[in-house]
Amino acid sequence: MTTALETKERLQPGTASSAILWEYAPSIEAVDHVKIAPRYNLFIGGKFVEPHSKKWFATINPATEETLSEVAEADAQDVDRAVREARRAYEKVWRKVAPSERAKYIYRIARLIQEKSRALAVVETMNGGKSIKESRDIDIPLAAAHFFYYAGWADKLEYAFPNRNVSPLGVAGQIIPWNFPMLMAAWKIAPALAAGNTVILKPAETTPLTALMLAEIIQEAELPPGVVNIITGAGATGAALVAHPDVDKIAFTGSTEVGKRIQRSVAGTKKKLTLELGGKAPNIVFEDAPLDQAVEGIINGIYFNQGHVCCAGSRLFVQESVIEPVIRKLRERVSTLRVGNPLDKNTDIGAINSRAQLEKIQELVDSGLEEGAEMFQPVCNLPTRGFWFAPTFFTGVSQSSRIAQEEIFGPVLSVLTFRTAEEALEKANNTPYGLSAGVWTEKGSRILKMAQKLRAGVVWANTYNKFDPTSPFGGYKESGFGREGGMHGLGAYVTLS
């Protein structure tokens, strides 16, 4: 937690003299209403069952390093059991349920998430390290909204695919990352169920708890057993799910490296695959942009969720004529960000999700310094326990340096400059990734041209990091294929004839 006093202390003299320093009293979200079981088993066939592996692993709070609970480690036999349950539920039950009834089950899930939203937000923050402000206002409400949106599609699928017969694929294996645990579970499960599939979801190793709370919600919604199965574990569990011969569909969100491995693994099978992978998004600020708004967008673009965002605007391109005021405003604004206890409602930047991620961020930041970029970091009194990284940006970054090319997945921004729109486009597109991009300008025709020319699946113009269940999301190039959200998101879970 950062107090106003600390905020003053960590300002470097002369760097942010005009920043307004607000006083903040701590405002800690209550946790006494939240019940976390000491141990969670695997959710298979509608029940929590002990893992065949007889192994459990601790899941911690990255802000305190305290153990919150322990969760089961699913081995290949557990995966097989989950797939068999999902297959049985698909053949015997779910495919026979009327689409309008299917819809009502999904609506129930949406409503239950809303009813339990505060507990879900608190656990999301405790298990993942993200600020309560974000889990409360973004992750959990959006997760509910996704279920609500896709519920309505269940009995309307033929309108999404003109002149085709629509059928479900069968059993879907879904592997999600640790940056938006509950929201990613919703992105995966909601369209799969709406289209009539059964699922096996594997949450990330470090953030299993809200997915297990979702399992309880699914029980409470009285979904037929086996329609949704949630199994915890690490990479080996995911690999076993991908390799299982009776899975019809793999949906994966995570790193490009693992995505490529999965693409190789399903080669030669009939499994349908969608991948939502990494990014290194350009955020482009033209000289005519409203600079104060743009700076807010830059901040939101890179520091949202500690920068653990695949679509983070991690490469800032500023037109040369305004580089000086943009950097000045950025320094001031970064210096007012509150880093600390994620459960404090004032906190802007919470804990880094894991020690491994913190080390990866540090390694890339070190490489930026070695390659001669100039670093700005407000002086932060970071808590002594837990995993923390101060909001950081680099200037004087060359296009070829690692911090301009590699995904850092942390609160670290690389600032580059450009002179003309053509140059901005050339630099922005010069990456194997293509997930998202930002453009800031008051000129309408330029927005539309830039939006057209940027090779990215999502373009935020004069805004950044906005998400909605009706809005398709997904990448070009090595950022993956397939879309999640909107009518297009259904395509990942159906077969057409």
Binding site: N163, Q263, A267, K466, T470, P472, S479, R483
Partner: protein, 289 residues
């Protein structure tokens, strides 16, 4: 003394030109009866790389043309094919089709160009959307070309198979490097003469003849190819192609025509074949006074 006929040299089609393979190699193409028809170019890895380079260079111009313009160019291909139908029929007959079969395949091939020409300014309306987000934003989704697409044409039917896979890719603004039917490459090379005379800009369609075992692995591995249509890859090689394609997360498409697929219009032509080589782009902008 009867006049000695002038034989045709079958070369590659790269960047709007007809170069010989840089490798200087050829392979004999025979009729079903075993007679030598011609020596086709045995394209090399270097030819493929040149073709990908040409396709990449042509992509933004082709993708940037108006949909109306692209539609007219595809329609122009149909017009020129119609005018040269006799020559194309002869190519198929030489390769072993009966006169009636050959004529039927050419007719269908021409109609397929017309079918896809008509989609150019319609598929974005079918697959695009305006999204009712819960906030003060204007939000829309449009399809955009994937980029450079590698197409491995099926062995049979030599022309209809190639065109059925090629037309939906290029109508969507992509550029193509296609590997022709290995056993019957000659009709495709003659079709390239149609492309060269149909206002198709150089580099939009590139055709390489040769041995698939030599060429396909390089096409699948090329880091500047965005998608691969492996329809003409032999079943036993599909897994290997898919694995190689993962190197740069290529979109991998394999169309299984089945027994009647190439003549069954519902199966072998549809806007969904265009959609497979499109990327959906979503744009957000705030609304306010």
């Amino acid at each position: 003394m009867t006049r000695l006929n002038v034989r045709k040299t079958y070369k590659l089609y790269i960047n709007g030109e007809f170069p010989r393979t840089e490798s200087g190699r050829s392979y004999p193409v025979k009729s079903k009866g075993g007679d030598l028809l011609a020596n086709a170019s045995r394209g090399s890895r270097k030819d493929l790389r040149n073709a990908v380079q040409a396709a990449r260079k042509a992509q933004s111009g082709w993708g940037g043309k108006t949909a109306y313009n692209r539609g007219q160019i595809l329609y122009r291909i149909a017009e020129v094919c119609e005018a040269r139908a006799g020559e194309l029929v002869d190519e198929l007959r030489g390769a072993g089709s009966s006169a009636a079969e050959a004529r039927k395949e050419i007719d269908r091939m021409i109609d397929r160009w017309v079918y896809y020409a008509g989609w150019s300014d319609k598929y974005p309306q079918v697959f695009g959307s305006v999204n009712p987000v819960a906030g003060p934003y204007y939000n829309f989704t449009v399809p955009e070309p994937t980029g450079v697409v590698g197409v491995v044409a099926p062995e049979e039917p030599a022309l209809l198979g190639l065109v059925s896979r090629l037309a939906p890719v290029i109508v969507g603004g992509n550029t193509v490097v296609a590997i022709t039917s290995e056993s019957r490459p000659l009709p495709a090379i003659t079709l390239a003469e149609v492309f060269a005379n149909s206002d198709v800009p150089g580099g939009v369609i590139n055709l390489i003849s040769g041995l698939k075992n030599e060429l396909v692995p390089w096409l699948a591995a090329h880091m500047d190819v965005n998608a691969i249509d492996a329809t003409g890859v032999a079943a036993e090689n599909i897994a290997a192609v898919q694995q190689t394609a993962a190197e740069n997360v290529k979109r991998f498409i394999h169309f299984d025509a089945g027994e009647i697929g190439w003549t069954d219009e519902r199966r072998s032509q549809s806007p969904y074949a265009i959609f497979e080589f499109q990327e959906m782009k979503t744009v957000w902008h705030p609304m306010g006074m």
